[in-house]
């Protein structure tokens, strides 16, 4: 835990200093679970005037292993519509998988990647087989082998 908490401590200090526009820290209690809000800044009609809440879960081997990042679904914080985001908040992004992850990534860079993933999206839809996946999946997001179909979105 020592290594992860030291690194997260550094990140937290930097986050308290400044964050890119559209990203705000909600809570960062301890070094296991953080909540951040993100907004899409340009005028994408799908996400206009909406705020989304991200939940980061860190393992003791962070940043060697990726954190578990999901969108939360609450009354005023919906799960964004996106062909790579399931309605239970699980995100299909290679950056967050064991293969695509790199220890030089951090909370801020993940938020920015997700921001730009939403910004570039034009399809107001869920991934294929969303209902079935949401109903059947009991695995943790990082253990799921997504097929990263296309990198254009």
């Amino acid at each position: 835990m020592a290594f992860a908490s030291k690194r997260l401590g550094k990140e937290l200090a930097k986050i308290h200093g400044s964050l890119p526009p559209g990203i705000t820290l909600v809570t960062a209690e301890g070094f296991q679970e953080w909540l951040l809000d993100i907004q899409v800044l340009d005028a994408n009609p799908i996400y206009m005037n909406k705020t989304f809440r991200l939940k980061f879960k860190f393992s003791p081997s962070y940043p060697i292993e990726p954190p578990e990042v999901t969108f939360l679904n609450t009354a005023d914080r919906p799960v964004p519509m996106h062909p790579h985001i399931y309605s239970n908040g699980i995100i299909c992004l290679d950056l967050l998988g064991q293969q695509g992850w790199s220890p030089v990534q951090n909370v801020e860079s993940i938020c920015m990647s997700l921001q730009s993933m939403l910004t570039g999206n034009t399809k107001n839809e869920r991934p294929e087989g969303d209902e079935q996946f949401v109903a059947s999946n009991r695995r943790r997001p990082r253990d799921i082998d997504f097929y990263y179909h296309d990198n254009t979105v």
Binding site: K6, R7, I64, P103
Partner: protein, 459 residues
């Protein structure tokens, strides 16, 4: 949460009082282990300066947990742990990481974390010396006293100088054999690990904790000042009284006769009304003048006395020379028998005074000398430390080179043996053209085998 970071033999205790992140550990049963022969020699000379050095403990600093002064150059920050590099390595794709960080990352996949190019342990090398130098020069905050030092000397500072770092209790040197540790600040007295009573709350606790107890923990640590009624610490009452605005104070010209007395905060009001306000400075000036005059008089008296003695001495010499005697007898060697009257006394007096002044000058010089010696040893130590490190590095590089040379020689020898077999014989019987070509090779192989004979016999 358990971190098996320290081997069992090391008793590690973080500075839980000052810093919760455990930025450093010290080792109570492995002291003086680091020293080779030079180390102990230096240690001895230093202990003559710092009498308490035998109490020193070895400290290990966690370079990722300490605070750095100012902003650290982004190029010196590891992209994995986001700290200034610790033991940096360079990959063949020109990225630098801490050794521990890249080891960890590679155990999860053999890719460079930055550019995701294939990467393996084999293609990782120690970072250039320049990077190490830059890292060594980083300004790091001491986890104990909070002062800023170059990162490279932080451990040495904690080990030998930091007043807030832990050392063995001075009681460990006496027969009571105390095994506790104390801050260096408190190690100049004797062992403070004995029960004592807090003068504020009458609780019994160890004397060593008294200071922090009276400052922060004691339930009766505060009281209202008798004069200004501000809450103050009981243990700092005297200091407070020296500056309390409500304590009665006498006028600054009291010694010249002013009877005025008022609260410290109102004293400035009196300053203008004081009848002594014009006399006071004058009297002060006169006092200075008089004391300087007194000094002059004293000096003059001394010179006068010296002159008188000198005159007496000369007079006695004169008297001696009045007698029928050779000029030789006037020499100092014959003084005692020549002058047997009261003039002998004055002569001796003069010599004695001379001796005295010489003696005082001598003691002054020897004091200066020992002072200088102390400074010199310190300087020497500070300068030798980096040199020693560099030497060790050079030595290891040289060993590696030696190994390479040895390997190359053996390789060359074997190749030559294989190529020529009984080459000298062949060369002598061969044709003129071939003979020349072979000859040069043979001389080369001879030279090699000569210089590496001892190596080969060892192998």
């Amino acid at each position: 949460m358990d971190t098996p970071s320290q081997p069992d033999s090391l008793l590690s205790r973080g500075s839980h009082l000052s810093d919760p992140s455990q930025a450093y550990t010290f080792h109570t049963d492995l002291d003086n282990l680091s020293g080779g022969t030079t180390e102990t020699a230096l240690g001895a000379s230093i202990s003559s300066i710092h009498k308490i050095s035998t109490l020193n403990l070895r400290h290990t600093v966690d370079l990722r947990a300490i605070t750095y002064g100012g902003t650290v150059d982004e190029n010196l920050v590891c992209p994995i742990c986001r700290c200034p590099f610790v033991d940096p390595v360079l990959t063949d794709c020109d990225h630098v990481f801490c050794r521990a960080c890249i080891d960890d990352a590679l155990s999860h996949g053999e890719l460079c974390p930055v550019d995701r190019l294939p990467l393996s342990q084999a293609t990782i090398a120690r970072a250039p010396k320049m990077v190490f130098n830059q890292l060594d020069a980083l300004k790091a905050k001491c986890p104990c006293c909070g002062n800023i030092f170059a990162r490279a000397i932080l451990e040495n500072h904690l080990e030998k100088y930091c007043l807030e770092a832990m050392v063995r209790c001075p009681g460990s040197l006496s027969e009571q054999g105390c095994t506790q540790v104390v801050k260096r600040r408190l190690s100049t007295q004797q062992c403070l690990h004995y029960p004592a009573q807090c003068p504020d709350c009458y609780e019994t606790l160890e004397q060593i904790e008294m200071e922090s107890h009276r400052q922060t923990l004691c339930r009766d640590r505060t009281k209202l000042c008798d004069y200004c009624e501000v809450e103050i610490l009981r243990c700092e009452e005297i200091e407070h009284k020296a500056e309390c605005p409500d304590v009665l104070q006498i006028c600054k010209w009291a010694q010249y006769g002013c009877q005025h007395e008022s609260k410290r905060r109102d004293l400035y009001l009196h300053a203008d009304d004081c009848h002594f306000k014009s006399i006071g400075p004058m009297a002060e000036m006169l006092k200075v003048e008089i004391s300087s005059l007194r000094d002059d008089v004293r000096n003059l008296t001394e010179t006068n006395q010296l002159q008188e003695r000198r005159i007496k001495f000369l007079e006695s010499g004169q008297r001696a020379s009045d007698r029928p005697m050779d000029l030789m007898d006037l020499s100092l060697a014959s003084m005692p028998e020549a002058a047997s009257t009261d003039s002998l006394d004055s002569g001796h007096d003069y010599l004695l005074s001379l001796l005295e002044t010489q003696q005082s000058r001598l003691s002054h010089l020897s004091a200066e000398l020992s002072d200088f010696q102390g400074k010199n040893t310190m300087m020497l130590f500070n300068e030798t430390l980096p040199i020693k490190n560099e030497l060790a590095e050079l030595r290891s590089t040289q060993q590696v080179t030696c190994m390479h040379v040895r390997w190359l020689m053996r390789f060359r020898m074997q190749e030559n043996q294989r190529r020529f077999g009984v080459s000298p014989g062949l060369a002598s019987t061969g044709g003129p053209d071939g003979g020349n070509g072979f000859g040069s090779d043979i001389t080369l192989s001879r030279r090699l085998s000569d210089s590496s004979r001892d190596v080969i016999t060892k192998l």
